[in-house]
Amino acid sequence: MRRRSFLQAFGSAAALAPLVGTGLLKPGMALGTESGRDAFEARTALDALRLLGAGAAEQNAALIIRAPEIAENGAAVPIEGISAIPGTTQLTVLVDKNPFPLVLQFSFGPEVLPRFQTRIKMAESSRLRLVAMAGGRFYTVFRDVKVTIGGCGE
């Protein structure tokens, strides 16, 4: 179903062919609409990590996740993720206590530094995880954030 709406939106599979050729988009993983979407439906961070193949991620101090210690508004928590691990091609953010813990995933081409800033929703105080993929291995770092007013339900 998702695949169909995706193809309709972009005209045809042929329109995507040039992207697949860059090696950035792997067939079947285009824009996170295929296998990658399963992890977004996972109800626990561990299930999501397992679906991403990152179940055995090791903690690594060259990964940094910045977020406020106390977030007033769970609907918009500012975060910054930075990887100093050489060869990082992917960064993933999870919030353990969100109804769907997988928040986002970025796949970086060589032109883009493996770092980003954004704002995310946190339903309640929770552990925040940043996961990096580099050279086919997974690394992770945690940070606990206290949320005053949750930002998912109601």
Partner: protein
């Protein structure tokens, strides 16, 4: 129709910073309106950043990216005049895109 995407691309030496603000409700499907009805999910599922027409970043999103998503990225080895573009797709098949040119300021 949705408000236009705001995109800013600035150069510091050969490093480029791209800032994006995409007007979008990012509705999780978990909230209820005052009458108790579930507000249907409506959120961006994917986003692509391109440089001179070539994809350089792919993003997949769940429902927990904040409304009106805001992103900052850093690009290496870019120069004034390089074109940076963004395109998004949501769970309803709606999409948006824009592009701009790197400028020194």
């Amino acid at each position: 129709m949705a408000d236009p995407i705001k995109i800013r691309a600035t150069l510091k030496g050969s490093t480029g910073e791209v800032r994006l603000l995409i007007p979008h409700p990012m509705e999780s499907g978990l909230r209820h309106d005052p009458a108790g009805q579930t507000i249907p999910a409506h959120y961006i599922t994917s986003m692509t950043l391109s440089l001179n027409g070539r994809s350089i970043l792919e993003a997949g999103f769940g429902t927990a990216v904040s409304a009106n998503p805001l992103f900052t990225f850093q690009l290496q080895d870019v120069k004034a005049g390089d074109k940076v573009g963004v395109a998004w797709l949501d769970n309803r098949g709606q999409r948006g895109s824009t592009e701009t040119v790197f400028d020194t300021n």
